[in-house]
Amino acid sequence: MKHLQNRKLRLNSEEETRALGLEIADALEPGDIIALIGDLGTGKTALTKYIAEGLGIKEEISSPTFTIVKEYRSGRLPLYHFDVYRLGSGEELLDIGAEDMLDGDGVCVIEWADIAADVLPADSLVVKLDYGDSDDSRFAEIL
């Protein structure tokens, strides 16, 4: 995933968000973790949908806010889609049994990853999303 890092992007449309998602998906290997950081409505779930599309996942990617994590196995790699917004800490993420998924055979995409930053490995791909300068644009910073 190294070639993806240290970039700042201005995503001008949903289509450009999709392009980023597909590019990330192409580079993913088992055990990779994508940490998404950004406020409500900055496009975390949208980016996850396109990463899933790039992995060849057939199911609908709906928000995991209610159950914290949803699992998809129809793609090139299993995808574990987390939304840790309701959690208080990284420890609570481990409490719900996330360890097996974080060290697992698939890819983890974690929304609101800043909340659980203390338990995420240092080599996670961090994507910071922010509101753009127009209604449809977003800023993405990949660390």
Partner: protein, 338 residues
């Protein structure tokens, strides 16, 4: 059995509520104990799984005992135990599943694992004692927005669902954006009554023609954009108007799609279920659209719309009568599909 009635104990711990209930013959609620965690969760703006699990564990035995006591029965009178095994929070589900299995094993009572969503639909059997399938069901809650065809008691066919956020989740998120707090559904319902649903133009998202799916995540972005532009223009924001306009955009689409589904499958009844089925504006709009099409709309009372053990007992009863059996291998399935 007691007094010739088949007694089902229903246990529900999938999310907020620790709940147990005794239901006679799948239809009559003998007791319905719900111990809610909503006060704790208000502080956090949502469900906190770790707290949820711990609280369920502290309360489950007491809640079951109270359900039996209020129904005036003993463990030996129970004919069947039904328990939610998904979807939900894994730690929370496990408490109910473990309690149900232990009790079923110790007292040699048949066990049925119930899909929480089937339970929501079954809530209507408790409210409307003459209701029998077939009908069209609309399940709207914090985690789900689904249109389900129900041709028979033990058969459900999902026709459409949300592609991103569930209706209840959209209410929670927009309530947060406009500063109304948790739980978003009731707060927005209340604020909307004082607001103008035409004040802000929110898009009605119908997706492709004929689709029975939903998409609500764009609405929170629209709300954010609206608040931003109003603030930049230095205009004061009327929260009630935003709440009313947002709510209208959500419930109008839900009501129209549910009625459309009923027409297409030639169903004469729409049965509502789930927490958002309590939303007063949704109830009004769907009733109006349905009656114009000669379709009857049935709604459970608010106490049966929220998570409860009685609906799980009723669903378990009909699964059992259809010949279904669950063994002690039953495990929680957090991502259980319809």
């Amino acid at each position: 059995m007691k007094n010739g009635q088949f007694l089902t104990l229903g246990i529900e711990t999938s999310c907020d509520e620790t709940a147990a209930s005794v239901v006679a013959d799948g239809r009559v609620v003998m007791s319905n104990i719900i111990s809610s965690q909503i006060d704790i969760h208000t502080a956090y703006g949502g469900v906190v799984p770790e707290i949820a699990s711990r609280r369920h564990l502290e309360r489950i035995n007491d809640v079951i005992e109270r359900a039996l006591k209020e129904a005036d029965i003993e463990v030996k009178d129970i004919d069947l135990i039904g328990v939610t095994y998904g979807p939900g929070l894994v730690g929370a589900l496990l408490i109910g599943v473990a309690a149900a299995k232990a009790m079923a094993y110790a007292a040699d009572i048949p066990l049925i694992g119930v899909n929480h969503m089937h339970g929501h639909i079954a809530a209507n059997y408790l409210e409307h004692h003459d209701l029998e399938p077939p009908f069209m069901a609309l399940v709207v809650s914090g985690g789900h927005t689904e249109i389900v065809n129900v041709p028979a008691y033990n058969s459900c066919e999902k026709l459409g669902g949300t592609r991103d956020d569930a209706a209840g989740e959209a209410f929670d998120k927009v309530a947060r954006v406009i500063g109304l707090g948790y739980p978003g559904g009731p707060k927005i319902d209340k604020a909307a009554k004082e607001g103008d649903p035409e004040a802000v133009q929110f898009k009605r998202v119908y997706l492709e023609p004929g689709s029975l799916d939903f998409s609500f995540s764009g609405l929170k972005t629209q709300a954010l954009n609206y608040l931003n532009s109003e603030r930049q223009a230095g205009r004061e924001i009327n929260v009630n108007d935003v709440a009313a306009s947002f709510q209208e955009a959500v419930v109008e689409v839900i009501a129209n799609k549910a009625v459309d589904a009923a027409k297409r499958y030639d169903q004469k009844r729409i049965v509502m279920a789930g927490g958002v089925a309590s939303n007063s504006r949704l109830r009004a709009l769907i009733s109006a659209a349905a009656s114009a099409a000669g379709i009857e709309v049935l709604k459970p009372s608010p106490v049966l719309c929220t998570d409860n053990g009685a609906m799980i007992a009723s669903a378990a009863y009909y699964a059992y009568k259809s010949g279904e059996r669950t063994d002690y291998e039953l495990d929680a399935v957090p991502g259980l599909e319809f």
